[in-house]
Symmetry: C2
Subunit: 288 residues, 2 copies
Amino acid sequence: MEQPNITGHTKLIGLLGHPVDHSMSPAMHTASYAHLGEDIVYLSFDVEPEGLKTAVDGMKVMGFVGANVTMPCKTFVGQYLDELTPAAELMGAVNTVAIRDGKAIGHNTDGAGFVKNLELNGVTIKGAHVTLIGCGGAGSAIMTQLALDKVAKIDVFNAKDQFWDATLDRVAKVAEKTGTPIELHDLADKDDMKACALASTIFINATPVGMAPNTDGCVATEDMLHEGLAVGDTVYNPRETKLIKMAKAKGLTACGGLGMLLQQAALGEEFWNGAKMDTKFIEENFYN
Amino acid sequence: MEQPNITGHTKLIGLLGHPVDHSMSPAMHTASYAHLGEDIVYLSFDVEPEGLKTAVDGMKVMGFVGANVTMPCKTFVGQYLDELTPAAELMGAVNTVAIRDGKAIGHNTDGAGFVKNLELNGVTIKGAHVTLIGCGGAGSAIMTQLALDKVAKIDVFNAKDQFWDATLDRVAKVAEKTGTPIELHDLADKDDMKACALASTIFINATPVGMAPNTDGCVATEDMLHEGLAVGDTVYNPRETKLIKMAKAKGLTACGGLGMLLQQAALGEEFWNGAKMDTKFIEENFYN
């Protein structure tokens, strides 16, 4: 595989979060840029929320191209940036920072990567009726992006836990700001979920259900997966979750989590420096 | 040559200065660490003095291993560090920063690299009588290191320009703090220089005289190069300056500037993380 050829001209993109040393992003983005012939490497930096302002100011003065931001920093970093994109503003979370003319601009590709992957698989977003299972970090980002992208309606299912009221507020805010009808439902009410699924054109799992080692788990029952429904999953380990297998067995369009991951990374590179990531190359070298 | 294999574990050393994109240090130190199997890369960052505090604070919170500092930042960065080594303190300039337990420690290897190279070539430093031509950045660092290393006497020659009084002050300060007799002489007085050279055991050129394209230049005349004198030059382009050639022709020990450069880099790696740079490998791959 192409390796970076580091010189005095080589530029840097960072990953801020804690912990970060397990992340595949440094190897993946460094290889991607080397493959594209771009003189940029990507390194991780272990930073906790209290160090974010100092890190962001340092990156700006040192001329970083940009950064990714991961847990637990995503919801804290926005206040230290110069600008936010509408997606980052509405999600209240930043996963991508570009530094342009000394200004740090926060963006969020978590939702956009998922939606882009659906579109690349032929799924129509505008005007769609979506059933979305889970409204944590990933689910919330996907909900917001779908609302920004003008779906007709979103039915969101979440556990009635201690975050229920906060989730209600978030749903109401996104609905108000985008004009998209969004309704929050109790995850435990399977009849309600079935009714929503049957009325939907897209069904999305944004919970960890189905992730290894518990690969038998599935948020949907078979009778929810009606003809014409497109199914998406945020889980990418295994590549095909039980949900994706069930959908494929029924002949439905089914998009696993890996595509979201790759599109999210590609949107990051585009945001940083306009690069067009070769997602096939990355998939073959990192996810086979 | 070995290439870095960047992952989430890879650590970073930076070069701060302006301009820095022409520097060979990123390629050289990155290759050196890859050759040693150390998971560290080295990148340059274009930073001017007014951005130094922010850059240093950023490097600390982001967990950099350390940095080199080059023009025009060397004399400014010390005030933003947590500690200085005696060499950096006395020189009033920092070219190397190590970050240990979140603290930034400033050091200066400019003089130590030159002296180490002399020692590796069998030159005795302690008790030596030194004639040093030039007291700019490099000359001043060498003067200070020689004084710290307890030479018997240093005769320093410098142009009687607008910096003469400042140089007098610097010489007096180093002499006082180290207890080493140091005398400042007028560079234009060649008789004086000859008298000093003849009384010396080491003769050093720390001016750019002899550097390409003006390779005919030489600060010394042949009659200064007496038997038993060791000769050192800070110029490394060409590898053998006229001064070094003259000294070798007379059978004297003669140390060109490349050795200083390599030892200075090796001392940096040792200061950062205790690494033992393979100077032969670097010389063969970068300076052939």
